[in-house]
């Protein structure tokens, strides 16, 4: 996404700042900017969230619907993620410009949630072989200011955490089976998000690497890796993109950093979401 053209002088300053561990805004390479998260902000959804990191702002909405179970996987539910970048994010992205970016983010999110264990899909099964829940997850970027992947993954986890699923009662059998979806706002259940991963993206800059890059810093980066980190500190997924080459030792260091940072953010995210839900009203 070449939106900003930087001079050689600025690039040199940015890259050397990262190598010296004092970035242009004073952060160290492993510091994130403040992550603002709020949930239940969109009406007409089962769950929603908004995440803001610096200038980047992303909205996630979760809508549940009942569909037929998959023939090959009769005892689990389904999720369908779609990513959209609003043209308001930058006028350069109006029209087709945003497609590459949307696809990249989508592929990372799909990678994180490709495992059945990420979001316990067996919970989403209603009647084995017949019906199950499909979660339609819409990710919308309102503004882009660097580090889109991580922001999307935080917002996604928060939205799933805030999602309330209605109770379903099954009557009858076979062809006469009828599903009744309860309207009762008190008879709801929550998804189990304890195994939902978040994405920590590490960008290579010169001889060093850093997290949470601003747009200017992203212009100077040569390659990056996405690491899916679980609350337990395990790595659930990993992907490398971009043009640069990585030494194996550097790669191990980057993954270690991702685990360190990821577990810390998981803890903070978890306590923030708990605090938010106890103060929220139904």
């Amino acid at each position: 996404m070449n939106l900003i053209r930087l001079s050689l002088a600025e690039r040199k300053y940015i890259v050397e700042s990262i190598e010296e561990d004092i970035r242009t805004d004073g952060r160290s390479c492993e510091d994130y900017r403040q992550i603002e998260i709020e949930t239940r902000n969109l009406p007409n959804t089962n769950g929603s969230s908004r995440c803001k990191i610096g200038k980047t702002e992303v909205l996630v909405g979760v809508k549940a619907e009942v569909v037929d179970s998959d023939l090959h996987n009769p005892s689990i539910g389904k999720i369908n993620i779609s990513v959209d970048c609003s043209a308001t994010a930058s006028p350069h992205l109006a029209g087709r410009g945003s497609e590459t970016m949307e696809q990249e983010v989508l592929s990372v999110l799909n990678l994180l949630y490709s495992s059945i264990d990420a979001l316990n899909l067996t919970d989403l099964c209603i009647v084995k072989g017949e019906s199950c829940w499909l979660l339609n997850i819409d990710v919308l970027f309102i503004q882009c200011g660097g580090n889109l992947f991580d922001a999307a993954s935080f917002a996604l986890k928060a939205a799933l955490h805030s999602t309330t699923m209605p109770d379903v009662s099954v009557a009858g059998e076979g062809i006469e089976m009828e599903l009744e979806i309860s309207d009762d706002p008190y008879k709801v259940w929550k998804l189990n998000t304890s195994m939902c991963p978040i994405c920590i993206t590490l960008y290579q800059e010169g001889e060093s690497f850093a997290v949470d890059l601003t747009e200017e810093e992203s212009e100077c980066s040569t390659g990056h890796i996405h690491v899916g980190v679980l609350p337990s500190g395990e790595v659930s997924a990993m992907e490398k993109s971009g043009a640069g080459n990585l030494e194996p030792i550097a790669l191990l260091e980057m993954i270690d950093a991702a685990i360190r940072i990821g577990t810390d953010i998981h803890k903070q995210l978890h306590s923030h979401l708990l605090a938010e839900s106890t103060t929220a009203t139904l």
Binding site: D84, A87, T88, A94
Partner: protein
């Protein structure tokens, strides 16, 4: 705000936020009930020579719906937005430039075209683009029993036999845009048109309030003001 409407006209509470997008020259979000639309304006900016017009600025519009997938309605909204911009914005003031208007529907619950027009007007004012007047969108749905539901929700729209959206400008209170779907008689249409004027007036009052609030809080604006000399007023207009 809604105290002066006659009893039969009930509209949902309206709220707005201005200057919300740092990247854009002007932006606004308008919420009416559960319908929410955000508009970002970028410009006037340079435009490619092939697209430029030596006498006025070119207006480009993009509309994106609430769900990621595009729909044929988006094209219709883009045209509606562009038309209103061409009518209201004084395009001859900025020749050889381009104004980009980006509309993002955040959530849909009826009257979406009216909400879009309202957000558009506030965003254009926020961007400081020269305009001939302000404009406001009013939407209503006609039920089977001929009752008019103003600022309808999606459910009310679905159950109605006809839906109207009128856009008024405020220098002479004339209609500048009309969109109708469904079936109705000429008399029913005229009644809806006549009553919609009141709602439009309310919306204009709401715009003024929003801007006064914004300007009062803005230090940059306060600094632009000359020291006000007591007793000096401009000629009172008639």
């Amino acid at each position: 705000m809604l105290g002066t409407l006659e009893n039969s006209i009930r509209v949902r509470p309206i709220s707005s936020e201005l200057s919300i997008l740092g990247n854009c020259d002007g932006s606004a979000r308008v919420k009416q009930g559960n319908s929410s639309v955000m508009v970002g304006i970028w410009g006037p900016v340079e435009v490619k020579q092939s697209k430029e017009d030596p006498e006025k600025c070119v207006i480009e519009t993009t509309v994106k719906g609430a769900t990621g997938q595009g729909s044929p309605l988006d094209k219709m909204y883009e045209e509606a937005v562009r038309q209103t911009c061409e009518q209201v914005v004084i395009t001859s003031a900025h020749p050889r430039t381009c104004i980009q208007v980006i509309v993002q529907v955040e959530s849909e619950d009826g009257a979406i075209l009216a909400v879009m027009k309202n957000a558009l007007c506030l965003a254009l004012m926020d961007a400081g683009l020269p305009m001939r007047s302000m404009f406001a969108g009013v939407s209503c749905a006609q039920q089977e029993n001929e009752e008019l539901m103003w600022d309808p929700t999606a459910e009310e729209e679905e159950e109605s036999t006809a839906q109207y959206t009128f856009v008024y400008e405020n220098s002479r209170n004339n209609v500048i845009y009309v969109h109708c779907t469904g079936e109705s008689t000429v008399e029913q249409y005229m009644l809806a048109l006549q009553k919609s004027r009141q709602v439009a007036t309310e919306v204009f009052g709401f715009y003024r309030e929003s801007f006064e609030k914004l300007l009062r809080k803005d230090v940059k604006f306060q600094m632009l003001l000359p020291p006000i000399i007591k007793g000096e007023i401009l000629e009172e207009p008639e």
